[in-house]
Amino acid sequence: MAIDKRVGSAAEAVADIGEGAVVMISGFGGAGFANSLVLALRDRKVGGLTLVVNSATHPLSQTHTLIEAGLVRKVICSAARGRGADLSPFELLYKAGKIELTVLPQGTFADSIRAGGAGIPAYYTPAAYGTGLGEGKETRRFNGRDYVLEEAITADVAFVRGDIADRFGNLTFRHAQKNFGPAMATAAKLTIAEVRVAQSEPIAPDRIELPGVFVNRVVTA
């Protein structure tokens, strides 16, 4: 029985994600959004989700469809502001007190996910020290400089957008598609990748950007 992580559809790939799941979603600046998986999850209509996503409001991300559908209990992100003066779906729910929010500096967001995948429960960072986002956080001085203690972020599921996958789940990324994908893939119990091409043939060793051992399912989208 050879390893083959390819599944037939996004719907099949997300079929066992349950109520209340913590879901990481890759994507930043318009590249690498795992939108097919997000839409498939929306169609499952499981609620109480916690989303770990860089932006709750990026116009090119389908994250807002989960929020609009009322499936999201909490968002952990570095950006939650809609463009323009009108309020985004997230902002409307947030204003109404119907959605929880944790905002982190983007580097803290990234490294807390990396830490979650790397078995590091907590680490110190200078970001947010002396600011409102650092309030209430434990602080400590090292070599004359002040830092805040940040804890790891893990998830039940990670949705990652890649370019090419092979049957082992190895991935390549196109350009800035990479962003949070590799870190998120390491930090979730179940990682699902949507890719342009899912091939049987192994990707060459020196072209692989995310080892397949971090990927559980692959779907073409």
């Binding site: 930043f28 200078p126 002396g130 196109r174 800035a176 962003n179």
Partner: protein, 227 residues
Amino acid sequence: MTPLNRQQIAWRVGQDFENGMLVNLGLGMPVNCSDYIREGREVVIQSENGVIGAGPLASPNAADSDLVDAGSRKITIAPGGTVIDSAWSFAMIRGGHIDVTVLGAFEVAANGDLANWDNRIPDKGPLVGGAMDLAAAAKEVWVMMDHTTRKGAPRLLGACTLPLTAPSCVTRIYTDLAVIWRDAEGFLVKEIVAGLSREDLQSRTGAPLRFAPDCGVLAAPDIAEKD
């Protein structure tokens, strides 16, 4: 007295990038600085989404939705550039590898405190992005902004009134009226636009100004403002 327009401020900042520097440019006005690097200098532009060596905007027919900067602009990769993942990109930032980050700001205090992420807009969600990491960890934090608010209130202050991005981090401020260095004693004016007196500049500033012995004229070539 003719204040610089925003492109001219970007030009002025661009003149100060040295050869080989690793520079991060914030969203909005600062990204324009890369258009004004001096002839013969190579500067590596870092975008916090992981593009190390960001090139100019892509031409419409070469635009690639997978090749964007942190501001979602479709860009190119400069010779020698590459793309790394976000965790590594912020390791680069947090680790102090960025020589200069140029950021927009609402307020800068004489002790270097920076407020550039939360303007307290009612009901709008928060957006911090990479600002706190950059401000806390870049070797130098340069701010470019209008010297005052639209209503004429100073943005250079004795203490910030808005939520801080990072304490005591700003090293230079480039405004439409002046170039100001920030040191342990506060604000030191290095250049001032022609036709503006030192007293006038001080009156538009919310903290004491010192003037460098070699304080010169802030001038830029004619560059049209962009949208």
